[in-house]
Symmetry: C2
Subunit: 179 residues, 2 copies
């Protein structure tokens, strides 16, 4: 059996930031710069809580840009690992079909058997988990990789990966160690 990797969607393979920045501008008439949302989510900026409600809109998750290099690297990694897409979709009833269709469009090489819509991720026993949320890595028994996102930038407790090329390199080293 190949080692298994649980890969998160939002802010790991799907980029929600451009949409949040546009929505903030639409609501508040100001284009955010990195300093404005560094260390937090856009809807954690003071006064911007109402931005979060857009996550519940049909279509929100349907047209997100793909995070750079995630497609090519995941496709490559399938030679060595069983890849599972694990996303906390369950909070957003409206996101199910959007997320499913988005994956079919951009990651057609991921079989439906390997897609998981969930909430709490503590029930997964994969070997690796790639996620932008420290709380998901905290309960994880395998090797967790924290994917850099604006909101987790001050977190120091986990192995950090800044992009998919770093993930490719990290896992290549892991495989080399096992030989």
């Amino acid at each position: 059996m190949k080692p298994r990797i649980a890969v998160d969607m939002d802010e790991v393979i799907a980029d929600v930031m451009p949409k949040f920045i546009d929505l903030y501008e639409k609501e508040f008439g100001k284009r955010l710069s990195k300093e404005d949302y560094w260390g937090k989510k856009v809807y954690q900026i003071e006064g911007a809580q109402k931005i979060r409600k857009y996550l519940f809109d049909k279509g929100f998750f349907r047209d997100l840009p793909v995070i750079e290099h995630s497609q090519e690297v995941l496709k490559e990694l399938q030679a060595h690992y069983d890849i599972y897409i694990t996303t906390a979709a369950m909070e957003f009833r409206t996101s199910f079909e959007d997320k499913y269709d988005w994956l079919a469009d951009h990651f057609p090489f991921i079989h439906w058997k390997n897609i998981i819509f969930c909430g709490d991720k503590s029930v997964f026993n994969t070997d690796y988990m790639i996620d932008d949320h420290p709380f998901n890595l905290q309960t994880f028994k395998g090797k967790g990789l924290l994917f850099t996102a604006s909101h987790n930038i001050n977190e120091t407790a986990y192995t950090r990966v800044n992009n998919w090329l770093e993930i490719r390199a990290f896992l290549a080293e892991e495989r080399a160690k096992r030989k």
Copy 2:
């Protein structure tokens, strides 16, 4: 931390049989008796393969009857266990909202964090799994309980439970042993 149970939906808490029997009658003009589908699924009856396509219809999973005693027993078990509903919904894009709404109607005490739409269930590390499919129990590392369904009646490799009162009794014994 409480021990955790992964509970399947179809043929464990949601009864698909009445609908399949009605659909068979509609298609073939014959009311099935138990002997006709014993040891298999309705759509595995010779010539009835096309019945399976109904699983892809919007609404199929929305109005299924609740399996007897599953509500009261699951509610009770929450005092002792973390309950996760784990259903292989991912094959049926059309089922997501139906299954979510059905759970909200009939199992409102199950938090969204504890609902999982998946495919392959081998990635779960719960302590127990209650499922009608031997292939899900086969890869499971915890204690698997095979919930009796027409299609699994000849399976002998797993601890069998015939209804939710037997599950309640089985788990009460398990807890007594741990004391």
